[in-house]
Symmetry: C2
Subunit: 333 residues, 2 copies
């Protein structure tokens, strides 16, 4: 089988040269283990951080080792009493066509409730990231203005829709006219700004006539800067991502936040979804309920073929995806 290893720590934006396809034998499950065929691989911006050799909330990837991320797969051989052949499961697995894992490393998913790939997006880590960042940190109230950057992405699109459910005035920021139309016409955002073609300060001021109560931060950089002068008293900023800075080789320099936070008694709270591990059940149930009720839609950008996994990851930094970026490796049988 094929697998993908990190062979160089990227300098700036990652390139194909940082990765390597390798051949490996398909393993044999021992007692308490299962053999899984990979169906879907999640490619995510946060993985870029793990490619650096620095301390962060998850340890860095080892060089010359297989990259891991959230994966959906199907059990094709089970030596575990918890799983049967053909069970569809999810877990943090390697970028490879087959995996042998301990039964404790994966959990079954219910493909009657939603297609399997949804467990990598709206019902998976990205949906939970949207849910806890928005509701636990920002807790938007009816009539408040919620701005979300990376709004057409896997996290941002769910953030905006939950904010709409909560009765907020929702403004999305994204990078193409196609995404802007999607946010306004498909997801029901009140306004959406194309930061590549519009002057962001002016467009934000126009879209937020009552100021900004919540800014869900996915991108950082100049967009994050532009929000600061518009913050209302007691504004909340869940800081989820800063994709604009992930490939920086130099320090990320911009507007210092201190004076703005003081003026508005505003809060910025960095977080990762792992901080809420004890509450995943609550979040998953809420998201599944909204999904079944048709109150949340989700989009996936699915790249076909294991051989295209690296490209799908690199595309994230070009803003190529709408919704969750996923690689389809094989069909579920």
């Amino acid at each position: 089988m094929q697998q993908i290893k990190l062979i160089k720590r990227p300098s700036g934006t990652p390139t194909n040269e940082d990765f390597e396809f390798a051949e490996a034998p398909i393993g044999e499950p021992a007692e308490g283990e299962v053999l899984i065929r990979t169906n879907y691989i999640s490619v995510d911006p946060y993985l870029r951080g793990r490619m650096n050799n620095v301390k962060s909330y998850v340890p860095p990837f080892e060089l010359d080792s297989v990259i891991t991320s959230a994966v959906i797969g199907q059990v094709i051989e089970s030596k575990s009493t918890h799983f049967e052949k053909n069970d569809v499961v999810t877990g943090g697995l390697g970028w490879q066509e087959y995996s042998v894992v301990q039964e404790s490393e994966v959990r079954k998913i219910d493909t009657n409730l939603a297609p399997a790939s949804a467990y990598l997006s709206v019902l998976g880590m990205t949906g939970l990231t949207a849910y806890f960042g928005l509701l636990d940190i920002a807790d938007p109230k009816e009539g408040e203005t919620v701005v979300v950057s990376g709004a057409a992405g896997a996290v941002g699109s769910v953030v905006g829709q939950i904010a709409k459910i909560k009765g907020a005035h929702v403004v999305g920021i994204a990078g193409s006219d196609e995404k802007i139309e999607y946010l306004k016409n498909e997801l029901g955002f009140d306004a959406a700004i194309n930061y590549k073609t519009e002057e962001i300060e002016t467009a934000l001021a126009k879209a937020c006539p009552n100021g900004i109560d919540v800014y869900y931060e996915n991108v950082g950089g100049e967009i994050g800067d532009a929000v600061l002068p518009l913050l209302n008293k007691f504004a909340r900023i869940p800081v989820c991502g800063a994709i604009s800075a992930y490939n920086n080789k130099e320090a990320d320099i911009g507007l210092r936040v201190q004076s703005y936070l003081i003026k508005s008694s505003a809060l910025m709270q960095g977080f990762t979804v792992g901080d809420y591990a004890s509450r995943f059940k609550e979040g998953s149930e809420a998201l599944a309920g909204w999904l079944q009720a048709g109150e949340i839609q989700y989009e996936e950008t699915i790249t076909e073929g294991f051989e295209n996994t690296i490209d799908a990851f690199l595309d994230l930094f070009q803003g190529a995806n709408v919704g969750k970026a996923i690689v389809k490796v094989s069909d579920i049988e």
Copy 2:
């Protein structure tokens, strides 16, 4: 009598030319009013912000009007049933030798508990600012590392002492060797850094071998930047002041915080003491208790003479004061 008016909005660092001494008649109290002789005037960094014509948490000063701040004075004529001649009171009053005010604008203070001037410092707004920012936002736990900038100032010196009471490892940052000695030898800080003579990143790393759990931000700028890489998981940053930026003519540019906040799931919370108005009694009582028990010391830099009020204010931006900067206008009788 003499009074001080703002006649120009300062561009950058304020100068004597932005202010004017003017003559005015001493008013006559009407029914429900009192005539007050000014004893002490509080000069504070936050007043700089009110000299700009921009929306903030307090409205800007009007041009050609008398500047106001916290003042201690003595009632010399009362037409109020609430006050008697010689009562010592505090309130937000003008920079002038006498004031006529409504009885609701001032409150009596107890000069048996502490000297009157303490009600402008440790028992006044600066003490409360220290109290709520540290305990409500940061809530330091025993053994955690608390860093405070502007540590020899009116707010910072109280922050550090409360953090010591709570059992934290306390590191102060200040701008002269005299202040460093004061923090270590008089106030019991565990370490203190002179940012003017030491390389701040190196000195911070050395003083905080276990990282930083709480950073009480008074100054912003490069000191605020230097703290970010040392933040521990779930670090808290009460953002109280950014004196380094108050006189900036250009945007305040430095290290963007987003990536650091995400890595550490860290919080930054801007605030002003007014956010805690409903809890002032709790804070005042706690501070008075520590003061009487000798657990908190405070220092004042008292400038004698109303004619030196402007200079005392301008000195704040040179870091000239240890503890609270106060102008003594007249004796209490």
